[in-house]
């Protein structure tokens, strides 16, 4: 087989022509590579927003077989009041609603709700179950996206209908803000009544919205600084009965009380550890005060600080690994952070004035304190490493901050002096939305319980 090679005869071009041709080809290919406006996606960055309360519509819950039909309306109002008090929601007046919700399982008419500019919609139903219990359920809708966001069902003894309202408020709060709610909680505080010279101080317990108040002590002994146990239904407080102060453990449900330890001196400002197994307090002996912990089961006590200064008001971090406390070892009262087993303490506050009553946030990101400077009292927060100190409220005389379980709200008491007594206030961790918490009489030393569920 003969090989046949195919030869292509190129036209005979002069060198110059070849050069021109080559450069033309090159130019043409380069032109082809020239950048064209890409039909790509337009990219945009939005880095500033406009933080506003979420406008939310809450038509009355429907009721099914309820002994008192007003209960469903009351539940709706509790939820609306909770959300409004948090400062993050703006419930819309029911008079403006266009659609009437009668069946919560049907999809609402979103254009009607968009017209009143509601960003979220809550519908719900309360019903009496066959066994006599209360069934509560809700649906949460995103109006502008036209989507179903969340919905839950609860069953509980009928008398707990207020708690159902608080639990539903928590679910709505969590879904729309991303933070856990704090509405299904209680506050323990010292209720003060009577004339200023002879104030009667009783331990009182109420829901965080001021309802269901009940008194835990009779008022014949002086009570101070009540605190909740994180895990059980117990409160620890200081009582001045029988002459000298002692730490008392009180079981809310049974009413049983127990003296914590038999110390040869005065014990102050008790607090529970995050696991509920220990109580930390300060013990005063011979003019100075040191921090001790006591294991609740074994009743063994451990000394944590051993200085000649006054160390008091200890508070655990939520992981239980560290504590913060107030000490005047540096001259004036300042806040120190130390390991939970003792050891070297590190000072974290360096500002003007004295710092006291430190409380570690349940989220672990801040420590709240009372700051006193030039006759003015302020409630502030600081990060555990000592940076980011911020004053939330100032006045005369603010004291005793306590954190809500989601670490976003603080409650404290304010004593205006004179013949009036102290009252409770809440403020958001951003310093906004300061509100008064209504109590039947004067109130001080509040403590916030963990979530009841």
């Amino acid at each position: 087989m003969t090989k046949r090679s195919v030869t292509i005869e190129l036209p005979h071009l002069s060198r110059r022509r070849m050069l021109l041709l080559g450069s033309a080809v090159a130019a043409g290919s380069l032109a082809g590579l020239a950048p064209r406006p890409a039909s790509a996606v337009l990219k945009l960055d939005v880095t500033q927003g406009n933080i506003q309360p979420i406008s939310i519509a809450l038509p009355d819950f429907t009721g099914l077989g309820l002994p008192d039909p007003a209960t469903s309306r009351a539940v709706t109002q509790i939820i609306a009041a909770n959300l409004q008090r948090s400062g993050l929601f703006a419930p819309i007046n029911q008079a403006a609603y266009i659609e009437k919700i009668s069946n919560i399982d049907a999809t609402p008419r979103f254009p009607d709700w968009r017209q009143i500019n509601a960003q979220a919609l809550v519908t719900g139903r309360l019903s009496r179950l066959q066994d006599g219990r209360l069934g509560g359920e809700f649906r949460l809708w995103d109006v502008f996206a036209g989507q179903y966001l969340d919905g839950k069902q609860y069953q509980t003894p009928f008398d707990n209908w207020r708690r159902v309202a608080h639990i539903i408020s928590d679910a709505i709060y969590e879904r729309l803000t991303g933070d856990k709610g704090y509405f299904d909680t209680r506050i323990v505080f010292v209720d003060e009544s009577g004339p200023k010279e002879r104030r009667v101080k009783r331990l009182a317990l109420m829901d965080q919205d001021g309802a269901n108040i009940r008194y835990l002590t009779r008022g014949d002994e002086l009570v101070l600084t009540p605190r909740f146990s994180p895990s059980t239904q117990e409160i620890t407080y200081m009582s001045y009965g029988q002459g000298h102060p002692r730490v008392v453990l009180l079981n809310i449900e049974t009413g049983q009380r127990e003296i914590v330890g038999n110390f040869p001196g005065m014990t102050f400002s008790p607090r529970f550890s995050p696991d509920g197994q220990r109580v930390i307090m300060s013990l005063q002996q011979a003019g100075n005060s040191n921090i001790f912990t006591m294991d609740l089961r074994s009743r063994a006590t451990t000394r944590l600080t051993d200085t000649s200064a006054i160390d008091t008001a200890p508070s655990y971090a939520p992981d239980g690994a560290r504590i913060c406390f107030e000490s005047d070892r540096g001259g004036k009262q300042q806040i120190y952070v130390m390991g939970a087993q003792g050891g070297a303490a590190q000072r974290i506050t360096f500002g003007e004035g004295t710092y006291s009553t430190p409380v570690w946030s349940p989220r672990g990101d801040y420590i709240a304190f009372t700051k006193q400077s030039q006759g003015r009292f302020a409630i502030g927060i600081i990060k555990p490493d000592g940076s980011g100190e911020r004053i939330l409220t100032e006045g005369y005389h603010n004291e005793g901050p306590t954190w809500a379980p989601n670490g976003r709200v603080l409650m404290f008491f304010r004593d205006p002096g004179g013949s009036a007594g102290p009252t409770l206030y809440t403020v958001d961790v951003t310093g906004r939305n300061e509100q008064r918490t209504p109590t039947p009489s004067y109130a001080s030393d509040p403590a916030w319980s963990p979530l009841l569920t």
Partner: protein, 295 residues
Amino acid sequence: MRTGITISTVGHAAALLWGVLTFATTPYKSDTLEAMPIDVISAKDFSQLTAGSKNAPKVEAAKPLVEKTGPAKPPEDPSAKVVDTKEIKAATDAPPPVPEPKPKTPAPTEKKQSEPKRDLIADALKKEDTKKPEPKKEAKAPTPPKKPVQEQPKFDPRKVEALLDKRAPQRLAATGDMINSTLSLGAPSGMAAQLSQSELDALRARLAQLWSPPAGAKTPEELIVAIRMKLNPDGTLAGPPIVLTSGKTQLFMASRDSAMRAVFRGQPFDMLRPEHYEQWKDIEITFDPRDMIRG
């Protein structure tokens, strides 16, 4: 070889010597320049500066600077010129019976009547004068102050030119170098063939106004949400926006919902011009609240 080296060395030495001698120096004198204050601004600032405001008071359009304003001359009428020459010719030949009443230029015709000779000179002067106020009239022509002498019914090619001129009537004589920094009703904004920075800024401003991210979060990184939206030519959403970032925590869901709500509520996005639709029909927005959340 040897001769070559010598010649080369000599040549190089000569060249070097010449260079040393001739480049000795009068130092270069630079003219003292006047220092000009300049400001560097970003494109975003520029578009904010020239954006204008709907509620600003109306600013009187600045008239171009002239040293001396001559007596206001009635606008020249080219047809009048043509007729005038005829008239002059007629004057030299025989006195014109009756001058044609010219509604717009009664004065010159009257003058011509009385003194035809001077007319030539006057005419020539007039022609020269009209050349000077011409640029003035160019700028003045589109602004509509009522002059006692109106040109309306007569066809004036210069007016047509003004009509064809698409530039904004309030533009200053020295455009391009000056930025009008006072807010003024109707201040012209830069219109490029591309999607302008001011349109993007307006879109960003609307989304920022409607976006309310969850505040006080511990870990702001999980609040970043990227959303892709496709738009119809009228600025409404063509379909549900797609969320590009993912997450499972409650905090992420809350921030995703707040970003989506801002996108839904922002409809219709009428600040985007329909002629640039090809460029903004598909937008990816990244909502990043980290700058807002500070310690």
